[in-house]
């Protein structure tokens, strides 16, 4: 039989825990409200995609008069989403894999080895961050013509890599500089070389930054318009963002179709983000425990 004291204690403990939970409630509610307010514009786009083009100018706030799911079917056809989807996936995936590989290799030696000329190379890369892409469009186009590569994606992906490398190296450098040296030392003592260090130590430890950079890299190319516009010639090789241009006429735009298309085009990026974000989480906790 429980003594009154124990019962009293248990009650106190319980109410203590519930009290803690209730104290946190405003925090949860507040954060959720903030999040909702923050993404309200996106919710608004979603709502708009179900309306009609005329309705959007008369019914701003409310829910659509009727939920026109056919807008999505129309948008799929008009934006040639089915056809262009694979193109975008192809380009962005190859880009992400290559740019992460190249950048991590370069950041590795720049961050973990010492040398004056290495520092110079680092600044050489970082300087590229300051170049606005519009300034080099014409020279790039001229190069593309003289190399005769205008029928393929390789040139476009190459440009993406060239402009992505400065940012990636800049950020990865900062991250890798802070990594602990013990594991490297261990590999060296065992007689391993650069490659072993890179593969067995650096890459696993860099998962969070690689995942984050992967997300950002994927996003920048998925949404890119100007480079895709100028360096993809054939219309059946277009990307999704070029497909969105189909919704603009001479003076007018098919807004509801465009909104529906935007929703469709953003679904893969959300998926990429969610899957890589889990990776980031795992990598983050692993890194924290080791450190």
């Amino acid at each position: 039989m429980m003594s009154t004291i124990t019962r009293y204690n248990r009650a106190a403990v319980l109410s203590d825990r519930t009290r803690k939970k209730w104290r946190k409630a405003p925090f949860y509610i507040g954060t959720s409200l903030l999040a909702i307010a923050f993404i309200y514009p996106l919710i608004y786009t979603l709502l708009t995609s179900f309306k009609t083009n005329n309705e959007i100018f008369s019914n701003y706030f409310g829910l659509p008069e009727s939920w026109r799911f056919e807008n999505y079917a129309h948008a799929w056809v008009k934006g040639k989403i089915g056809a262009y989807f694979m193109n975008s996936v192809y380009i962005c995936t190859i880009y992400v894999v290559l740019v992460l590989l190249f950048s991590s290799m370069a950041s590795f030696v720049l961050a973990r080895l010492r040398g004056k000329w290495l520092t110079a190379v680092f600044y050489f890369f970082v300087a590229g961050m300051m170049i606005p892409v519009h300034a080099i469009l014409i020279p790039l186009a001229q190069t593309s013509m003289s190399l005769g590569l205008s029928d393929q994606y390789s040139f476009l992906i190459g440009i993406y890599i060239a402009s992505g490398v400065p940012y990636m190296i800049f950020i990865m450098y900062g991250f890798m500089k802070g990594l602990p040296r013990e594991l490297e030392e261990a590999v060296i003592i065992d007689g391993g070389g650069l490659w072993t260090i890179y593969r067995k130590v650096l890459l696993p430890l860099s998962r969070p930054v690689l995942a984050t950079m992967g997300i950002l890299g994927f996003l920048s190319t998925w949404n890119d318009l100007i480079l895709a516009l100028l360096f993809i010639k054939k219309s059946d090789m277009w990307t999704l963002s070029l497909g969105l241009l189909n919704f603009s006429g001479f003076y007018t735009t098919d807004y509801v179709g465009l909104c529906a298309a935007i929703v469709l085009v953003n679904i893969p990026t959300i998926i990429v983000y969610i899957s890589l974000q889990e990776y980031v989480e795992k990598g983050l906790t692993a890194g924290a425990v080791k450190g």
Binding site: Y28, T31, A35, I36, F38, I39, P41, L42, Y44, T45, Y60, F61, L98, F102, M105, A106, L113, R114, V121, A127, G128, M129, M130, I131, P132, H134, A135, I136, L137, I138, P139, L140, T143, A162, V165, P166, Y167, I169, F170, I171, G178, G193, L194, Y198, T212, L219, N223, L225, S241, Y255, C259, I262, N266, I270, V280, E281, L284, T285, A288, G291
Partner: protein, 295 residues
Amino acid sequence: MERLNARYGQILLYLLPALLFYTALLVYPVIKSFYLAAFKWNGFAGSAMTFVGFDNFRFIFEDAIFWKSLQNVMMIMAGSILIQIPAGLFLALLLNGKWRGIRVVKAAFFMPVIMSATSIALLWKFILYPGDGLLDGFLTRLGMGDVIQAWLADPDIALFTVILICCWQGIGVVMIIFLSGLVAIPDAIKEAARIDGANRRQLLWYVTLPLIREVTAINVILLVIGTLKIFDNIYVLTNGGPLNATEVLGTYLYSEAFSNNRFGMASATAVVMFVIGFVLTLIANRAMKREAYEG
């Protein structure tokens, strides 16, 4: 790592792929473009390129719109840093935990980042639509109708509207970069501080903040460079208007090249942007490093 007898050749191999693409498809075009800054060209292949020396630069520096663009860029830079760094840090601290649903909330703040400039412009133009748009309608319903301005069309207000929209989009990135720094702080240090009797605020000020100096520097530099080059959002939102109120260096360069067919001037603008960016980055870098010595 110094014990590793890595030959230069081997090191070069690791740098090679990145260097190759970077040099061929960025550095080389940049050099060609900078070279063009000393010429006048009408943009037709095979058409004469006349040497004009520093004339293009002189034109730019005499152009009031150039200075307006520069001023606007500086204001956007200041506004973005002052808003996004504290807000991003606040969010990161808020969401540096493991409670249920935190991933969803983090994702919510990151969503604006994944949208393209076209999408952002589209939805914000609707929200800011005059009279019965979302914002104006909302304000009217709250009885605050006289607060309404022509958010994107009034030369005095447009820039601030644009700054806020850019911050809305950019906070997600600042947040996750801060988060990656926060998570790297070992729990052991925080425990030690707590054992020593530090309260929440002291923990933040004396332990957390100093330890995230590196990521703060990264965020600041990224914002500096990003706002210097800013183009997409402004182009689709206002195209530099109304009356150049939101003109930035990026849109100035673009209009010189594509609207005015003055490629020499566009290149000259690019040179100026590069120099400014370089100087600012050096300053930002030094400022961050100096704190490290003092701290």
